[in-house]
């Protein structure tokens, strides 16, 4: 999951989620960065709204809240 966490750091700090930035983060952690996995991640993230995905996760964790809305 480290690649996802790296993407989330970039998202949270309003930096661009691109191959170079993700790679830098993974390597800064002292881990080896796999280019193929990074490319695959970047490609998959292109079509996704990260904020929405996080919100959905929060809602799924607490669906009970919905009827209250």
């Amino acid at each position: 999951m480290e690649y996802i966490y790296a993407a989330m750091i970039l998202h949270t700090t309003d930096k661009e989620i691109n191959e170079e930035n993700v790679k830098n983060i993974i390597e800064a952690a002292g881990a080896e960065a796999d280019d193929a996995r990074i490319k695959a991640l970047i490609a998959a993230l292109e079509d996704v709204d990260i904020d929405e995905a996080m919100e959905t996760a929060a809602m799924a964790a607490a669906p009970a809240a919905a009827p209250a809305a």
């Binding site: 989330m8 998959a44 799924a60």
Partner: protein
């Protein structure tokens, strides 16, 4: 075939032609199939399959003669039951089986026919007014009573156990109750295709299980994708969600206030305080007035 009647030679030849011109050859049992139903079945199979009734020994002869060309087809001879007939098709044999099964209809129990499964009289209102029918039911072993002016069966009752013949009395009772327990239709006994003979139990496919398998396959793939963080367009949202959820969980467990966790932690602190307060609420003076109400 020195002294074989000419019509028999002709019949075997026609059977052989039918066998060699189709990929899939099956044996069906047409015993007890009303002519009308057979006709309807032929119609619904249309060009996809032909059914031909013949004499067992002639069919066996035809299989033997074809065995070089279609290896193992003589294995079908073991499945001649009742009033066997040959069905020839190019359809997937499992599909043929399904079509035949789907076309089975329910029919009244005939006296003397064998129950293929337990024949049950279900509990409940029969719709009959009190009368001699009550006695009739009780006589065949069905527990029944009068309730609100109707004859009511008290509990499910096996009227004819599987494998037993239907008695005259049972047939009459079932008929009056409108229960049609018999399945009438063409039984596919076995099918030959590409050197293999598939008996009927192999041909029966379980669609519910297939549906469950498809769902399970999707779930497993989804789970694996998220677990191993392999992004796909179906799972990328779930992967982000999972990362976010896990991170938030860690932050909350460690009591780390972040933009995402401050509300959660404050709410949690308050919820815990209130829960603890409710544990001591019956002790006078333990709580401030604002909490005691």
């Amino acid at each position: 075939m020195a002294h074989v009647a000419e019509w028999k030679k002709q019949e075997v030849k026609e059977l052989k032609d039918m066998i060699s011109s189709h990929e899939v050859i099956g044996i069906v049992n047409l015993l007890n199939i009303p002519a009308k139903q057979l006709q309807e079945m032929r119609k619904s199979l249309g060009n996809h399959a032909v059914i031909r009734l013949s004499k067992i020994n002639l069919m066996n002869l035809a299989f033997e003669d074809c065995n070089n060309e279609k290896v193992n087809i003589n294995g079908l001879s073991e499945y001649m039951e009742g009033q066997p007939a040959i069905v020839a098709t190019d359809m997937n044999p499992f599909k043929l089986y399904k079509i035949l099964e789907d076309n089975k209809t329910s029919a009244p129990a005939k006296v003397g026919s064998i129950a293929s499964e337990d024949i049950i009289v279900p509990a409940g209102d029969t719709g009959f007014e009190p009368g001699p029918f009550l006695g009739e039911l009780q006589q065949v072993g069905v527990q029944a009573k009068i309730d609100k002016g109707k004859i009511v069966v008290s509990k499910d009752c096996v009227l004819v156990p599987e494998g037993e013949a239907v008695s005259k009395q049972a047939a009459s009772t079932l008929s009056r109750l409108g229960i049609n327990p018999m399945e009438v239709g063409i039984d596919l006994q076995a099918v030959y295709e590409e050197e293999s003979v598939y008996p009927s139990d192999v041909l029966a496919i379980d669609e519910e299980k297939t549906l469950a398998d498809v769902q399970n396959a999707y779930k497993q793939a989804f789970n694996l994708s998220v677990f191993a963080a392999i992004p796909t367009k179906e799972t990328i949202s779930a992967i982000i969600g999972s990362a976010f959820t896990k991170s938030t969980n860690v932050a909350v467990e460690a009591g780390i206030l972040t933009s995402e966790t401050t509300d959660i932690l404050l709410g949690l602190a308050q919820a815990k305080m209130l829960a603890l307060a409710s544990e001591v609420s019956d002790v006078d003076g333990a709580l401030s007035d604002e909490l005691v109400d």
